[in-house]
Amino acid sequence: MALLQISEPGESTAPHQHRLAVGIDLGTTNSLVATVRNGVAGVLNDEQGHPLLPSIVRYGADGSVETGYEAERERSHDPKNTIVSVKRFMGRGLRDIAYIENSPYDFVDTPGMVQIRTAAGVKSPVEVSAELLRVMRVRAEKSLGGELVGAVVTVPAYFDDAQRQATKDAASIAGLNVMRLLNEPTAAAIAYGLDNASEGVYAVYDLGGGTFDFSILRLSTGVFEVLATSGDAALGGDDFDHRLFCWVLEQEKLPPLSVSDTSLLLAKARQVKEYLTNHSEVRFNAKLSTGTVVDVPVSQSDFWEMTRHLVVKTLVPTRKALRDAGLLFSDVKGVVMVGGATRMPHVQRAVEGCFGQPPLNNLDPDKVVALGAAMQANALAGNKSVDEDWLLLDVIPLSLGLETMGGLVERVIHRNSTIPVSKAQEFTTFKDGQTAMSIHVVQGERELVSDCRSLARFELRGIPPMVAGAARIRVTFQVDADGLLAVSAKETTSGAEASVAVKPSYGLSDERITNMLKDSFEHAGDDLRIRALREQQVEAERMLESVGAALGQDEALLEAAELAAIRTALNGLKTLSRQSDHRAIKHAIDELNRLTEPFAARRMDRSVQQALTGKSLASL
């Protein structure tokens, strides 16, 4: 007898259709895109067969944009317009950037995030990153032969809110639907864990081009649980290049160099570093634009000696994460190595010395993050079957807090809290009759506001005048599954509510993003209005299908009046979705979402009850 299939709420009603989804590793040095095909994750190569895209973007005076290897070739000729390692600038102010004096760029110190003046105008790091992401999207769509339903984009685990938001904005500008921001070491753990069917406590040591992350995870059947994460958002392979570059300057007693000679020697330093991974000695030689010839022998042991302090620096966050997780080095069953910089033998040795076991290198350290992201994307898109089901539980890397009297930080959410997480804290007024309050949100571990990163400031107005200390202002922090924060506040005693959604002080305004989107579509010959309409129609279609299916199954959970209201809204949306006003469609979708929220809650609550009862029955 054929049985009718009923899907769970939230699951696709058409489970057999494979949805195209990708994982993107937006790296400091290289970017990659990967996908799962026929159950196997693989990196997608470009037309010449290269898996990596050097994370380099060059802007021409005629408005042309070159990326990857093409841009790399011009790096020393046109350093000012050829942006490398842009990830270091994401969500960062001018003061936050290490070794900025060696950057050839013409920085514009705009509030929140720096910008770069190029031949094609002033560019935000978000726009530069969007160029790289667009290349990844186009590569994926060409090679998979269709439009992507979504992407998982990876970020260093130690990225703060500003850096995460900047990455998400870049992906939107590149025309990607970001299903999730995923922490890089967590992505690596997924790839490793699913490949090796591992159980137990594992550590991920991720030394990339510009960032260092260290995460500890507990892997058990079907669950990847991050216990602690830590790192240094400004430490990576680039620093090893830079150290070698400085050493050569000292050895050769070179005078201050021109911008293009600096770029030349930094690029050379990287080649020498990579060569020394498998060779004991090499000559560092280059001809400068002044005619000076640089020629210095560098041995492996010279290089290890001059960069030893950088390796030692990575062990500080490593120990911190272990302490946070309440674990010892000996509790860790295996250490997965991620990032090209972990190829350096002295890094491998230092990790081995710490953990008392050789690290795991059986997955390509350049690809493992993209592969894990692809697996997560495949799962989120709803392509995996029930028997390969797994769940990921990640944490927030840095504490979140509010400024209180005297410039001190009151921590509201502690680092390493599992996300999503929400906390509310009550504050009161300082003066009689005070009607407004300024709220300053910061991120970091230090006691003083001035030592933490400022995320947002906003004013709560309309507090009813009362004596000092009588008002009750409840500030709620909500961190979502992407690790992104939303803050709202309201006064609770009087019943008067003032709720505010925070506009980040660091990031880009919605208006700015809309303009960038517009530019990028004009650039691509696309029409923003048509695109917006199509997006809303797709969303409406999904909504109609999904609410219709839910009603078919669980109409009984609704009161007659509720059911009637939902049906009216459904019909309204159906009519509007055939017309061409995208704003009206959006409005109708929002209305239907509002109306169906209690319905969704009841359905989910029932599924939870069934799960809990089922469990207790089984354990009887």
Partner: protein, 175 residues
């Protein structure tokens, strides 16, 4: 509504200080596999909002119940006993003395930058906690809630000392 449930109800475990950690782990994972936002990426916005609320609630419940001191404080709160602001009870003099001694030892070790000493103090506190938690379990078992509150308050001090040791170790690590 789900929001009105206490943490024990959220995870479907009995209201008690004595908790089987493996059962708690299983209940939490079971619940998250139903409500986590990753399960609702393609769902309607209403469903995604509900999923985020439920997953947030599951995390809060699990984090509170998993940690023995947080669990104790929460259980006492359910009986309207606020451990943190309980000023009616004075601290046992013997504990105050002991606490002062620990604090001095930590400060001395930090000043002398003696990492080994800090680590052994840390181990000492861990052992002390273990003894105290099993005592606390007995107090809860016999319904002695005021003594349990006193014991929990002392454990709050001990955990604060533990954090100070952690800070001290970190200082030496960074330098």
């Amino acid at each position: 509504m789900a929001q009105a449930k206490n943490h024990f109800e959220v995870l479907g475990v009995p209201v008690s200080f004595t908790v089987a950690l493996d059962a708690l782990d299983r209940a939490y994972r079971n619940l998250q596999s139903k409500v986590h936002p990753d399960r609702f990426v393609n769902a309607t916005e209403a469903e995604r909002r509900v999923a985020m609320q439920l997953a947030t609630g599951a995390n809060e419940a699990y984090q509170t119940l998993k940690h023995p001191l947080k669990r104790a404080i929460y259980l006492l709160e359910m009986r309207d006993i606020d451990v943190r602001s309980e000023t009616s009870i004075t601290m046992e003099p013997a504990f105050l003395m002991q606490q002062l001694e620990w604090r001095e030892n930590i400060e001395d070790a930090r000043a002398a930058r003696n990492l080994g000493r800090l680590e052994s103090l840390h181990d000492e506190l861990i052992a002390e906690k273990r003894v105290r938690f099993s005592h606390l379990e007995k107090l809860f078992g016999s319904g002695a809630f005021q003594p349990a509150c006193e014991a929990a308050r002392q454990l709050l001090f001990i955990e604060k000392l533990e954090r100070e040791i952690g800070d001290g170790i970190e200082e030496m690590d960074v330098a």
